[in-house]
């Protein structure tokens, strides 16, 4: 035996091939390769996860502390904030609130797009661009099993990453932001909704799969990255357009508010107002947009509102996640069919 060969390495495959069919190498082999290939991705995700988690814990601690101080000093209620002393005590809450609403939420909103562009699109595009797909096809392992391992490692990493980020974001939002003081952050807002609950997880998995498919079809890394980014953004637009219809809206007719404030009949707190307007004397409805530029609403008899109350958040997210995960499954079927040939 050559002295260059480590004895354990040289003899290692023997017991494995004895237990299994010799033609099918164990997943361990493929797992090793995909872990090695995804090393940079895994480290990046782990580092980002630590940074985001530390950020969120810091936000939670600062807000909890400030709220504790406000409660002990009787400065918790907004009516007391005109007092200079209370205002000073309240001010430490602004920074974590700003950080959460203006930095973390937009960042988490962008996470799926970044995952699709930087993890999904290059995954197969690079294999085709560099010709290494032919190297893989020349090995004993079947291309379908190779693809399964190639997708499973980054897929699980993205699932763990987005799942942890989403839970931490939702937890801080629920305990400290939406019920807390000093921040206005209703759940259906543009940068709030995609950073809550199931949305980051479903969108991340969808964007990853979409990137993989685009990479398989385009076979060039850079064009695949650009196209994936554009498609994820377009999909975001489409889903956002369809989101109000994921659950029937609450349709409410209320008494007219006083003349001074116009048609300001208000939806419940944190609800998503879809449309509102005036009910005219003949029973017909006019949108508030029309009222602004005409006097037709002057003889309105009542106001009407269409909105999603806050407890529609979870059902709407479930419908949205269902759509995205079904699309993800379809994409995966197409990718696996494409690799077999």
């Amino acid at each position: 035996m050559n002295t260059d060969v480590l004895p354990d390495r040289a003899t290692a495959p023997a017991p494995i091939s004895g237990a299994r069919r010799p033609a099918a190498p164990g997943l361990r082999g493929l797992l090793w390769l995909t872990l090695r290939q995804n090393r940079a991705v895994l480290w990046t995700l782990a580092a980002l996860l630590v940074v985001v988690a530390a950020d969120l814990v810091w936000i939670h601690v600062v807000i909890r502390h400030t709220v504790g101080v406000l409660k002990r000093t009787g400065c918790y209620e907004p009516e007391t904030w005109s007092d200079a002393r209370c205002w000073t005590l309240l001010s430490p809450i602004n920074r974590p609130n700003f950080w959460f609403v203006s930095v973390l939420q937009p960042a988490v909103t962008a996470v799926p797009l970044l995952i699709g562009v930087f993890i999904g699109a290059p995954l197969l595009a690079q294999e085709y661009e560099r010709g290494t797909i032919r190297l893989i096809r020349a090995q004993s392992v079947s291309p379908v099993r190779w693809l399964a391992a190639r997708l499973a490692v980054p897929g699980l990493a993205v699932l763990v990453f987005s799942g942890t980020v989403a839970s931490l974001m939702t937890w801080v939002w629920w305990t400290d932001v939406v019920h807390g003081q000093g921040a206005f952050d209703p759940p259906f807002q543009f940068f709030t909704y995609p950073a809550l609950g199931l949305a980051p997880v479903a969108w991340s998995l969808f964007a990853l799969a979409l990137g993989v498919l685009v990479g398989r079809l385009v076979r060039r890394t850079l064009p695949a990255m650009f196209l994936t980014g554009a498609l994820v953004a377009a999909m975001h637009g489409i889903i956002r357009w369809g989101r109000p219809y994921f659950r029937p809206v609450v349709d409410e007719v209320t008494a007219l508010p006083d003349r001074a404030t116009g048609l300001g009949a208000a939806q419940p707190p944190n609800a998503w107002l879809i449309d509102r307007g005036a009910v005219l004397a003949d029973g017909s409805r006019v949108s508030s947009d029309t009222c602004l530029f005409s006097d037709r609403c002057d003889n309105a008899t009542a106001a009407w509102l269409r909105y999603h109350p806050v407890d529609h958040l979870v059902p709407i997210q479930l419908v949205e996640a269902g759509i995205l995960l079904a699309l993800t499954a379809v994409i995966l079927v197409v990718v696996f069919r494409r690799i077999r040939t």
Binding site: D4, V5, G29, L30, G131, R134, L135, I136, S140
Partner: protein, 312 residues
């Protein structure tokens, strides 16, 4: 090697054809490569050599006909383990080191022979920790060949393997390949347009020209079936259907003729003609220089065609 494999030919093409978007790269190919042979696939650039090897490696699927590998018409898990393939562009993961690349070979191939692969790498004095991306073309070729040999295949398909190697490395690696073939009875199919590279090495030949097989068979039989005639230019009346190629230089005429059918009775070289057995190079150059009858529906495809992925 067990008996059934020696009975089935390593490669058997029946009406094999492959079309790319641009046209047919190969069409109407029928040939057999018996097990245990070292078969040279020769022909001009763009003749279809790479396509032929990619079809045998199951990187491509035939558009028509079939190419049986050890009797199997399509790829199977068992076959994948028996066939090794080194593509012309030697694809490897640039981010992996030499050691990691060999580890990949070990992890993905059940019958891996680390010693054989390591020997090829060590011969080239490659740093084990060098990244593939930092290696020269010749060094990458060496790693690719190590991967193929470590797989311990029954059929080794090499597409222009030696093109970017220096003469010493070429000689070394040819020696390694030949000893592997001799020890294990590996069938080797090697394409090349560097003819001296194959001389004295191959014992079977496939001449690919314009997407078709011009000549196929045992090298000795093929060479015995031809004569290289040299004689006076003015007396160059030879039976046209037997002449492969004929050149007149000054007062001398040289002709390559097929003698598979006996010449006797049709035409007898008299004393002024010198007749000798052609060398491999003379034979192939004769065929390559002679215009082949264009095959209907066949267009010369680019040999460096990178569209190796099978169409859906």
């Amino acid at each position: 090697m067990d008996d059934p494999t020696t009975m089935t030919p390593a490669l058997e093409a029946v009406g094999l054809g492959r079309r790319y978007r641009g046209g047919w790269a190969l069409r109407g190919c029928d040939f057999t490569v018996p097990t245990g042979r070292i078969c040279g696939v020769v022909g001009p650039n763009g003749a279809g050599k790479s396509t032929l090897l990619a079809l045998a490696a199951r990187q491509l699927t035939p558009t028509e006909g079939e190419l049986r590998v050890f009797g199997e018409a399509a790829g199977s898990p068992g076959q994948r383990a028996r066939v090794a393939y080194v593509a012309q562009d030697k694809p490897l993961y640039p981010g992996l080191t030499v050691t990691e690349t060999l580890r990949m070979g070990r992890e993905l191939n059940p019958g891996w022979d680390q010693e054989a692969a390591q020997r090829v790498v060590d011969q080239g004095e490659l740093r084990p920790k060098a990244r593939i991306g930092s290696l020269s073309g010749g060094q990458r070729t060496r790693v690719s060949l190590a991967l193929a040999l470590g797989k311990v295949p029954d059929l080794l398909l090499l597409d222009e393997p030696m093109a970017d190697l220096d003469p010493l490395a070429r000689h070394q690696l040819m020696g390694t390949l030949m000893s592997a073939a001799a020890e294990r009875g590996t069938t080797i199919v090697v394409s090349s347009h560097i003819l001296p590279e194959l001389d004295g090495v191959i014992d079977h030949v496939l001449l690919v020209q314009r997407g078709g097989i011009r000549l196929a068979g045992d090298l000795d039989e093929v060479l015995d079936g031809h004569r290289l005639l040299t004689g006076p230019a003015e007396d160059a009346e030879l039976p046209a259907d037997l002449v492969v190629e004929r050149r007149v230089g000054g007062r001398q005429a040289t002709a390559l003729v097929r003698t598979a059918e006996p010449l006797e009775g049709r035409w007898e070289p008299d004393g002024r003609w010198e007749s000798e057995r052609p060398s491999l190079e003379e034979l192939l150059l004769g065929y390559l220089r002679a215009p082949a009858d264009p095959r209907p529906g066949t267009t010369p495809a680019d040999d460096h065609h990178t569209d190796h992925e099978a169409a859906a």
